[in-house]
């Protein structure tokens, strides 16, 4: 029976140990490789010495040591060559000296070649960037742009409403008539009617005129702005609509309102008709001597707003 924590930590420890072992093996290979590239007189000694020092290291520290050994090998090889060549030349003559200088020249040649290669690569890259791309963009075939007018309108598209216009509905109560209507006699704003009084025998007093007050929108009549068609608002339509309404003595419509004069906008006319229809029951009935009577009268509705 094992502890749960130990069971959980075991794979991680094995993984860690595996990684550490891999790193140490890699470090060992690096050191062996570096030592083999060292001068032959030092190769075996350095390999054994460095591997012995590596044995005291663990994990990444061993890898750091191995990388350092690689670097050390380069320095040692360089210094060994610098000191060995004059000695060899002295001992063996000009032939060895020539070989040594040839080795240096070869290293120098490799370095010069690498530098030149890098310079050429950069020059080529700059050349392609400076000329190749420009040339390519200059020789691109002209793009054919096809333009057409589509007549398919989005059926449900509604343009966004303008920014909250300030509506100033104006309810005109029986202004001076500006339109020519065929109005009945009882539609006049105020009419003095000659009421025929039965002639009393022996009476000589003249007949008294009957006082008529025309009807109009009364208390609780709907607000005109509520019937301003939104589409007309969006299109900036405004105007005056003249209706003919017939109202009974209770202020209710006795017949459907009719359009007496159009504003020029079907939307505004329709809004006015709906307003007049909705106002049924809120009309002020015309009165004859204070007595409500049925009457028909012109009803003007102005749709307007300030920008």
């Amino acid at each position: 029976m094992t502890h749960p924590g130990l069971r959980a930590a075991l794979p991680a420890a094995m993984l860690s140990a595996g990684l550490a072992g891999g790193v140490e093996r890699c470090a060992q290979r690096l050191i062996q490789h570096a030592a083999r590239r060292a001068p032959p007189s030092l190769s075996a000694r350095l390999e054994e010495e460095w591997l012995a020092d590596l044995a005291a290291r663990r994990g990444l520290s061993s890898l750091r040591l191995a990388i350092g050994c690689c670097w050390a090998m380069r320095i040692i090889a360089h210094e060994h060559t610098a000191t060995a060549v004059p000695a060899s030349a002295c001992a063996l003559g000009n032939k060895v000296m020539i070989a040594g200088t040839h080795h240096r020249r070869s290293a120098s040649s490799h370095r010069t070649t690498a530098v030149l290669l890098v310079i050429c690569l950069h020059a080529g890259l700059i050349y392609f960037l400076a000329t190749g791309l420009v040339h390519r963009s200059g020789t691109l075939p002209p793009t054919v742009i096809q333009a057409g007018v589509t007549h398919e309108l989005q059926p449900h598209y509604q343009p966004p409403p303008p920014a909250a216009p300030r509506l100033t509905p104006t309810r005109v109560e029986m202004p001076e008539p500006v339109f020519n209507f065929d109005l009945p006699a009882d539609a006049h704003p105020t009419t003095d009617l000659q009421v025929e009084q039965p002639q009393q025998p022996g009476s000589t007093s003249p007949p008294l005129p009957a006082r008529r007050v025309p009807g109009g929108p009364g208390k609780g009549f709907p607000n005109t702005s509520d019937y301003y068609p939104p589409a007309a608002i969006r299109l900036g339509e405004k105007g005056l609509v003249a209706l003919r309404v017939c109202v009974d003595g209770n202020g209710r419509l006795s017949a459907d309102p009719t359009l007496a004069h159009s504003s020029g906008s079907a939307r505004l006319d329709d809004g006015a008709l709906r307003l007049a229809q909705a106002g049924s029951g809120h009309y002020r009935a015309a009165t004859d001597d204070g007595r409500p009577v049925d009457s028909c009268f012109p009803f003007l509705i102005r749709f307007d707003f300030k920008d």
């Binding site: 350095l46 012995a52 020092d53 040591l65 350092g68 320095i75 040692i76 000191t83």
Partner: protein
């Protein structure tokens, strides 16, 4: 002999106990020099005659580790290292 600061640190370490024999790993641990710097210095000092090195005399199988290369100051190296530090002054490396 080129006297770099790193070389002086190695010499200073050996001058603390001139008879002591130290391996590369020991010197590296105490001087905190990188191995890429330390080993060329040890070889340089050895080839110049300041140091002498030999293999550790142990049985690797019984010790459980490979033998190490041990370095120590030679008499000439001790004299020259002392002269170098006398000219520089010990405070330089403090």
């Amino acid at each position: 002999m080129r006297m770099s600061l790193q070389t002086l640190r190695v010499l200073e370490l050996f001058l603390e106990n001139p008879s002591e024999q130290l391996s590369g790993a020991d010197v590296q641990k105490r001087s905190r020099l990188a191995s890429g710097t330390l080993y060329p210095i040890l070889l340089r000092l050895e080839s110049a005659g300041w140091f002498v090195s030999r293999w550790e005399t142990i049985d690797p199988s019984s010790a459980g580790r490979p033998r190490r290369r041990l370095y120590r100051l030679t008499a000439g190296g001790l004299a020259r290292a002392s002269a170098v530090f006398a000219s520089f002054g010990r405070g330089v490396l403090a």
